[in-house]
Symmetry: C2
Subunit: 187 residues, 2 copies
DNA sequence: AGCTTATAGTTAGCCACCTAACTATGTCAA
DNA sequence: TTGACATAGTTAGGTGGCTAACTATAAGCT
C-alpha cells in the first residue's frame, strides 16, 4: 500500500480542558470557552474524517486530490476536461493540478492529448484503468459514508446541515479587517 | 506578510448537484445522495474554516502548526516541554515537530536547551518574544471565534456538538476491514 | 500587421506533513 | 556487565499544497 499523507490541517488531539481554558481566559478576557471548544471540535472532526477518508483511499493508491480529479472526469459526458477547468473545480492552483495529473498519468489513470484548435490547451481524459479504479473504490466509499451517517436520522441530518451552514456563512470574520478600520474617525 | 499554505484537505468547491449524483447513483447503487452531500459539506466547512484561520494567523507570520506549539508551551506552568511531548499533543510526527521547532527557533519565539539529567532530551521553552506573539494574536483570534459562533445560541451550539460527536464516533468505518472479512465463510 | 494583454500550462522554490532509517542515550535483565 | 530493547531527536526522501515567474499561444486593438 502507498504511503499517504495526513491532512495538513491542525490535528487538535489535545483540546484544552476547562482548567487550562481558564488560565487563558484570565490573560485574554475576550475568551468564550464554549465558543472556542465548539470551534476546535469542528476543526477536529473535519480533520479526522479527512484523514480517515485518505486512509481508505490509500488502500487503492489514491489520495483525496487524485481521487477527486478522477471523479471530476467521470462526471463529464466525454470523460475529459482541461487542467485549468479541473483546478478550478477541485479548488487547487493550476500548479498543483500539474503535479496531480503527473501522478495520475504515471499510474495510467488518465491520458494527456494536445487539443486541436487551441494549442495551449491539453485534453485530460479518464482511461479505462482510471474508470476501473473508480469502480473499485466507489462502492466501498459509499458504503462507508452510509455507515458513518447512519447514526443520524433524516431530520437530524438536515438540522446538522443547517447549523453548519449558519457558521460557514460567517467565515469572512477571519479576513483582514484593517481597510474598513482605517476609514473610521480617530477618537 | 508571509506566504501561507492552504490545508491539504480536499477543497470541495464543487460538490456535485443532484443530476450528477444521479449519474453516479446509477453506476453505484450503494449511493445515498443525502448522506454523501452531508459528508462532503462537513469536509468543506472544516477545510474552509481551517484555511480562514490560517489566513488570520499568516498576518502574524504564523500558521496553525507553529501557533499551536506556542499555545501548548504557554499552557505549561514553566512554559517549557520537550519535542516528543509537543509532537504527541499536537498530533504530528516527531519529524514534523523538528521542522516546526526549527522555524520557531529561527524567529526566536522558542529556545532549545539540553536537558540536564536525560541527555537525549531537549527542553523547549517559550521566549518573551513567543509570549508577546501570542499576546498579539490571541485577542483577535478569540474575538473572531466569537463572531463566527454568534449566529448560534447556546442550545443550538450544544446540539451541533452532539450531532458532530455522533458522527465522529463512527469514523472507524473508514479503516481496513479485510481481516474480519477473511474469516467469513464463502458463499 | 503589430502591440498589448490575457490565458494555458509548467517550472522553481518554499512549507508542512508523512515514513523509514539513523545516532545517541537510557534501561533492564541474564 | 554487557547485550537487547526502548526512547529522544534528527535526517533523508516523498507528497501535495502554495506563489511567482516563465513559455507558448490566442485575442483584441489601433
Amino acid at each position: 500500500m502507498a504511503n499517504y499523507k495526513l491532512a495538513a490541517m491542525l490535528q487538535v488531539k489535545d483540546i484544552p480542558n476547562a482548567e487550562v481554558m481558564q488560565k487563558f481566559a484570565d490573560r485574554y478576557p475576550q475568551t468564550d470557552v464554549k465558543n472556542v471548544m465548539t470551534f476546535l471540535n469542528l476543526l477536529r472532526v473535519g480533520t479526522d474524517l479527512s484523514n480517515a477518508l485518505n486512509g481508505y483511499l490509500a488502500e487503492y493508491d489514491l489520495l483525496q486530490g487524485r481521487w477527486w480529479v478522477l471523479l471530476l472526469l467521470m462526471r463529464e459526458d466525454n470523460l475529459s476536461s482541461t487542467p485549468s477547468a479541473l483546478a478550478e473545480k477541485a479548488g487547487v492552483s493550476r500548479a498543483t493540478m500539474t503535479g496531480l495529473l503527473d501522478g495520475l498519468l504515471r499510474d495510467k489513470l488518465i491520458s494527456r492529448i494536445h487539443a486541436k484548435q487551441d494549442r495551449r490547451q491539453i485534453e485530460i481524459r479518464l482511461t479505462k484503468q482510471g474508470q476501473a479504479k473508480l469502480d473499485d473504490v466507489m462502492p466501498g466509499y459509499y458504503q462507508r459514508v452510509n455507515q458513518l451517517m447512519q447514526s443520524l436520522n433524516e431530520s437530524e441530518t438536515m438540522n446538522l446541515m443547517s447549523l453548519l451552514q449558519r457558521i460557514y456563512q460567517q467565515r469572512h470574520v477571519f479576513e483582514n479587517q484593517t481597510v474598513e478600520m482605517q476609514n473610521q474617525p480617530r477618537s
